[in-house]
Amino acid sequence: MNNVRKVMAIHLQVGKLSDLEDDWIQRYFDYLSKGTIAEGAKLKIERMPVMVQCNVCSTSYEADIARMGDLVCPACGEKGGMLLSGREYTVKEMEVQ
């Protein structure tokens, strides 16, 4: 389709709420890609922020993953909020030959 002979690298976007470690994603990938044109490809993993929307003033803000239990809206001080993003697993692009 794209006349690809070899996949050199894959750019992934992974939400910070994912518990998968970068090293392990690469190891699983290496195992699964054996014998395909993607064998040996390097995964470039970009961690995507956890975004939360305040239930009171609708301000969107980035949550600190280490302090998910104590979310406070920076605009109005309301506690907690709705999760907007931070769970994604997206293939953004591939470097190919």
């Binding site: 794209n2 690809v4 050199m8 992934l12 709420l17 994912s18 518990d19 239930n55 993953i65 998910m68 239990g69 104590d70 979310l71 506690k79 907690g80 909020g81 709705m82 999760l83 769970r87 994604e88 697993y89 997206t90 293939v91 953004k92 692009e93 591939m94 470097e95 190919v96 030959q97």
Partner: protein, 224 residues
């Protein structure tokens, strides 16, 4: 020529599962069968809750159970012994269920004859939270011996659930589990969640769980 090209993909890795989950939800909406995904750590009381639910419903709803275990049929046998329709899915080492496995489960049941199907997911607070099973409602159990700090360690699980059942409250007097602190932590992560305290052993609070279930069931049946 060794030129490197950049191909834009922009594709969700879990998109197949999300699509399959939507199909499951739609299919069961048509047969008016509510699908409930029950998640927790191992040993927190999923099977005990299901057995209490069978008792509590007193036959008022036609119930089916999808049991997921890595490699045993112990839970399905316990449930089937009460005369409830149960399907065992062996995940074969997998730590969670996905929508395709759930589809196999509901294919094996006459879902049009059922009001409610409960999925007993694999005991695990990590992976089951990542995979949409196609359920209409997600319910989790946290038991007192596990500790009140779990929302801090597994925020995603607490974020995706509609109901949290705090089980084994009969152990509260023996433990330093702080229920008020737990509620505060969970509600900060997920303000829409309902939290109920139960003991599958003594039966305390089981009525409130049955009431919640009946309320959700009525809302589900009433929706078009």
């Amino acid at each position: 020529m060794k030129e490197i090209k950049l191909i834009e993909v922009k594709e969700e890795i879990l998109s197949d599962n999300i699509k399959q989950a939507e199909e499951v939800r739609e299919r069961l909406r048509k047969t008016k069968t509510m699908l409930l995904n029950l998640m927790s750590s191992p040993g927190s009381g999923k099977t005990s809750l299901i057995l209490q639910t069978v008792e509590g419903l007193k036959g008022s709803l036609r119930l089916g159970i999808i049991e997921a275990d890595i490699d045993s049929t112990v839970d399905a046998e316990k449930v089937a012994a009460r005369g409830i329709r149960a399907i065992q899915l062996r995940t074969g080492g997998f730590c969670h269920l996905d929508a395709t496995m759930v589809t196999q489960g509901i294919d094996a049941m006459a879902v049009n004859e059922l009001d409610l199907v409960i999925i007993e997911n694999v005991g695990n607070l990590v992976c089951p939270a990542e995979f949409d099973t196609g359920a209409h409602k997600n319910v989790m159990i946290l038991s007192v011996p596990e500790g009140d700090d779990k929302p801090l360690k597994y925020p995603l699980m607490f974020s995706v659930c509609d109901l949290l059942l705090v089980n084994k409250i009969d152990y509260l007097s023996l433990s330093d589990f702080d229920i008020a602190a737990l509620r505060k932590r969970v509600l900060a992560l997920n303000p829409r969640i309902t939290i109920l305290e139960v003991s599958c052993k003594t039966g305390a609070g089981i009525e409130s769980w049955i009431d919640w279930l009946k309320g959700e069931m009525a809302a589900f049946k009433g929706a078009k």
